[in-house]
């Protein structure tokens, strides 16, 4: 893999990692590595997730009861811990997503004029 230029990737906004994990798990149970990879893939490699930072977040989500973990075997016959979304997790994801959308709309609303100014 060629070395990434640091400018190409965006650091995650605090708190958004939880939402991204929940979102990823909506497609089915997967392990930590899978979650990291799919976040990168879904964002066309724009979002930079330090894989290590995933694990504290996974513990937190477990405690909230939004995901549960169980050991399984991966396609490459690695023993790995699989995380699965719970019903509470699903509700949380919906809530988080709508909150996020409102947040983005608000930010975009503020930034719009600046962009148009730039365009002139």
């Amino acid at each position: 893999m060629p070395k990434q230029q640091s400018g190409d990737r965006i650091e995650l906004v605090y708190g958004s990692l939880d939402m991204l994990i929940l979102r990823t798990l909506r497609w089915g149970p997967t392990h930590g590595h899978g979650i990291a990879k799919s976040i990168e893939r879904m964002s066309d490699e724009t979002l930079r997730v330090e894989h290590g930072s995933l694990y504290p977040a996974l513990q937190r989500l477990q405690q909230e009861g939004w995901i549960i973990a169980e050991w399984g075997v991966s396609q490459n016959r690695h023993r790995a811990k699989y995380y699965r979304l719970t019903a509470a997790g699903r509700r949380q994801l919906v809530a988080e997503t709508s909150r996020w959308e409102r947040f983005v709309r608000a930010i975009t609303g503020i930034l719009q004029p600046a962009e148009s100014e730039e365009g002139q």
């Binding site: 392990h31 590595h33 290590g52 930072s53 513990q59 937190r60 477990q62 405690q63 490459n76 690695h78």
Partner: protein
């Protein structure tokens, strides 16, 4: 944090396998997957491994953060810190032992001092409303008359007009001979007024309380006996109630047994007898009066009222018979006046020891923290937060603190029981003995507080520096190259100076007290104490003068017949024996001046008394067989009497009293106490005196061998002569002497031990700081040596570092000593508080301690191998 997360954590805490237990495995799997993916995308294998690690970030950090997610109140980290702390402390047994020892001493000394203060000054008195109980003292106008006690007339007048007290109780204390049980005995007896039982709040353990009738003249006299007496004389026979004792020949019925552990009004009395007032004794000052103030009345109010009432009642009396004043003192202050000073002194000393301990703790921990800087930097660089590091150090400090507190607590208990053994029987001792335990919750809290203060303050302060550590620098610097920063080195020097100053002060104090004690033991007392056996033989109640004289003559005869008995003396009041009779003498050609009566102590003795006690006769002669009942009345006087009464004439041949000629002069001896000079005193042959007051109370035997071996023979001889003769206190004279200096011995030995400790701790402190200095400057020393510095110059370099602290310490110590030893003057004997020799000696020892502490580091410094030191990383 939501309740759900709390619940999950709580579950995790108790679940056997925690969700985090397999975290390491999970992360390893993650890394393998990533590595494999990298391999598949065509990376070389080692590159693939490292890329995976890079992508993951700090593994330890991720793991630690994930664990923290589950840690509830950081319990997880705590146990980890504790385990790690225990391992680290175990790896440095020397450091750990010295630290715990230091804490044990400092906390132990202070816990002990506080236990005593708590027991005596802070805990509620074992009396109902004890804070309102006062002692009422009457100071008579006439000098020389023993102050403090009130006459029955005064007491009854106060009691009948009382408006300031709930209760006014009177107690008359005396000795009385008890017969009616197999062996006669003399015991202390209290005659108590009806109010005393209520004031003290005691009820008999067995039997009944005093009733109103018990105090009326004419009814059968009754008494309560102490538990001690009940055990000793009646073997705890429960049928004792109703038995008759003869108290000074008066039949008295036992109505009950008092509970043990009574502190008030005294601890020694074996009998409480209902007090009755005989009309003929109305004006004798014989009563100790105690009053419980009414709520809201101050001691000052009560005192003013008592003084008014007394002045009104005595307005008719001649002035010299009147009361000078009446004082009302809270009972606690009255019970412990001397001991309060002693306690304050002890706690002052204990505090000094604590200061030294703190200084040592600080030095030890500082040196240790500097040595661990690299370790801390390493941990910080692999992801430990500053807070985590501080917490780690704090945990270690707390571990030390816990161990130190435990050790200190044990030491404290030990010290208390040790000093308890030293204490003479007194209310002070009884106060300590009452209650469940001297070391109560308050004492425990105090010990823990002190411990926390020392460890946290001195453990945390150095660890704070790690929060602003420059990792790069710290990692690069080898611990050996790291030298003390300016601030640290100044702190260390201050601490050394402080330690030396305190050691100096304690040494001066110890020097003064030990010399005083030694002075008391070795001074010229005027008599010898070895090979002497003494016994007190109280005069039996039924005794007659003739019978008494005959008894003593027979006694002397039979005792002298025992082999290895050199001389037998009998006397009214033995030196240090607690009985001192005085009488007024009229100076030749002078009228009696009531303001300044010439008192002199009187002792009636036998011919061999001076020989038995080893009292030299300075001029003239001692008594001998000529001075019998029918001989010419004679007297021997002491030097002070000779000087005071016949300043310009030879007293020999003069008349001491009408018809009594002076035949000899003996030196002043230490009669009442070792530390008081004898005033004017004289001796008369007991044979030539009339009246039972002149009859001897003591017998003293000079023996050729161990005097203790003669005790059974003495007892046997007395018993064979008189079945009814009470015998008390068969003791060697050395024992009598020892008992009279118990408090001084305790103080001197405590002070000596603490001073020795202080010196030892200072040596350790100096050794620690200097060792660190040398090892941190080894490179500099090596370079200097390479450049041609000789060993002498290296030593001078070190000496310069140390000498400032030593000189500062000595000066500070000197200044404090000069002021602080004033506090000791009360316990000093034949030595001034600013005795120059003692101060010089203390300074020398302190300086020697500093030198001793620096020998090993200095040797290490000059043995530095320049080559190794310079190359050393």
């Amino acid at each position: 944090m939501s309740w759900r997360r709390h619940l999950a954590k709580l579950g995790a805490l108790f679940r056997r396998s925690k969700p985090v237990d397999d975290l390491a495995e999970e992360i390893r799997a993650h890394l393998e997957m990533e590595e494999q993916e990298n391999l598949e995308s065509g990376m070389p294998s080692d590159e693939a491994h490292y890329a995976a690690l890079r992508r993951f970030g700090n593994v330890t950090f991720a793991e630690e953060r994930s664990r923290e997610m589950w840690g509830w109140n950081s319990l997880e980290t705590l146990s980890q810190d504790v385990r790690y702390g225990l391992r680290t402390l175990g790896r440095n047994p020397g450091f750990t032992a010295v630290t715990i020892l230091t804490l044990a001493l400092g906390i132990g000394a202070n816990t002990a001092a506080f236990s005593l203060i708590n027991a005596v000054l802070l805990r509620p008195l074992p009396l109902p409303s004890g804070e309102r109980v006062t002692s009422i003292q009457v100071i008579p106008t006439l000098a020389g008359e023993s102050g403090g006690q009130a006459s029955p007339a005064q007491y009854l007048a106060w009691r009948d007009n009382n408006r300031k007290f709930d209760l006014l109780a009177a107690v008359a204390s005396s000795r009385a001979q008890i017969s009616g049980i197999d062996e006669p005995e003399e015991v202390r007896v209290l005659r108590v007024s009806p109010q005393l039982q209520e004031l003290v709040g005691v009820h008999p353990y067995l039997g009944r309380d005093f009733s109103v009738d018990d105090f009326k003249n004419g009814s059968m006299p009754v008494c309560l006996i102490s538990t001690r007496f009940w055990q000793r004389r009646f073997s705890e026979d429960r049928g004792v109630v109703g038995r008759i004792l003869y108290v000074d020949s008066t039949p008295t019925a036992i109505i009950g047994v008092l509970p043990g552990n009574l502190v008030f009004p005294d601890t020694e009395s074996d009998l409480w007898i209902a007090l009755r007032f005989a009309p003929e004794h109305q004006t004798q000052r014989s009563l100790d009066v105690y009053g419980r103030l009414r709520p809201g009345v101050s001691a000052g109010d009560a005192q003013a009222w008592l003084n008014d009432a007394t002045a009104r009642a005595e307005s008719e009396m001649p002035e010299w018979l009147r009361t000078r004043r009446v004082t009302v003192t809270p009972i606690r202050a009255q019970m412990i006046s001397d001991e309060r000073r002693l306690l304050l002194l002890l706690s002052g000393i204990a505090f000094c020891v604590l200061l030294i301990c703190c200084a040592n703790m600080s030095n030890l921990l500082l040196a240790r923290h500097l040595n661990r800087e690299r370790e801390m930097a390493l941990r910080a660089s692999v992801g430990a937060t500053a807070a985590r590091l501080v917490r780690q150090l704090l945990t270690e400090a707390m571990l030390l603190c816990a161990a130190g507190t435990t050790a200190g607590f044990i030491t404290g208990r030990l010290l208390v029981s040790l000093s308890y053994g030293f204490l003479s029987d007194s209310r002070f001792k009884a106060l300590i003995a009452t209650g469940d335990d001297v070391v109560d919750a308050r004492v425990a809290a105090f010990a823990i507080f002190l411990s926390l203060l020392t460890t946290v303050l001195f453990g945390l302060a150095p660890s704070l520096r790690f929060t602003r550590m420059d990792l790069n620098e710290a990692l690069k610097a080898s611990p050996r190259r790291r030298s003390l920063s300016r601030g640290e080195s100044i702190t260390s020097r201050h601490l050394i100076a402080m330690e030396l100053a305190i050691a100096f002060v304690l040494l001066t104090g110890a020097g003064l007290l030990v010399q005083s004690f030694g002075g008391l033991l070795w001074m010229d007392r005027g008599y010898t104490v070895d090979h002497l056996l003494t016994a007190r033989l109280p005069i039996p109640t039924a005794a007659t003068l003739a019978g008494r004289k005959q008894f003593f003559h027979q006694l002397m005869e039979e005792l002298e017949a025992i082999p290895d008995v050199r001389a037998v003396g009998v006397v009214t009041g033995l030196p240090l024996g607690g009985l001192n009779a005085t009488m007024t003498l009229q100076r030749p050609g002078q009228l009696l001046d009531p303001e300044n009566l010439p008192w002199a102590s009187i002792n009636c003795v036998n011919a061999d008394y001076f020989k038995a006690l080893g009292i030299r006769v300075l001029r003239g002669r001692g008594f001998d067989s000529r001075d019998s009942e029918n001989g010419m009345p004679v007297a021997v006087i002491n030097e002070t009497l000779a000087r005071q009464f016949w300043p310009d004439r030879d007293p020999l041949g003069q008349e001491l009293m009408p018809g009594v000629r002076i035949i000899g002069i003996v030196p002043d001896i230490r009669q009442e106490a070792l530390d008081t000079r004898q005033g004017p005193g004289f001796y008369l042959p007991f044979d030539q005196r009339d009246g039972l007051a002149a009859a001897p109370n003591f017998v003293v035997i000079r023996t050729k061998s161990d005097p203790k071996a003669f005790a059974p023979a003495l007892r046997r001889v007395i018993r064979s002569l008189d079945q009814g003769q009470p015998i008390t206190d068969i003791r060697t004279m050395e024992d009598v002497l020892g008992r009279s200096v118990v408090q001084r011995r305790l103080l001197a030995s405590l002070m000596a031990v603490l001073a020795a400790l202080a010196v030892a701790l200072s040596v350790v402190g100096i050794y620690g700081v200097l060792s660190y200095l040398v090892s941190s400057r080894a490179r500099e020393i090596g370079i200097r040596m390479c450049l041609g510095a000789r060993r002498r110059e290296i030593l001078i370099l070190l000496a310069k570092q140390l000498s400032v602290s030593v000189v500062a310490g000595l000066l500070a110590g000197l200044a404090v000593s000069l002021v602080a030893t004033e506090a000791l003057s009360r316990w000093l004997f034949a030595i001034r508080p600013d005795d120059p020799m003692t101060i010089i000696a203390a300074a020398t020892v302190t300086a020697a301690a500093a030198l001793l502490g620096s020998v090993v580091p200095a040797v290490r410094a000059v043995r530095v191998d320049p080559l190794t030191a310079v190359h050393m990383e």
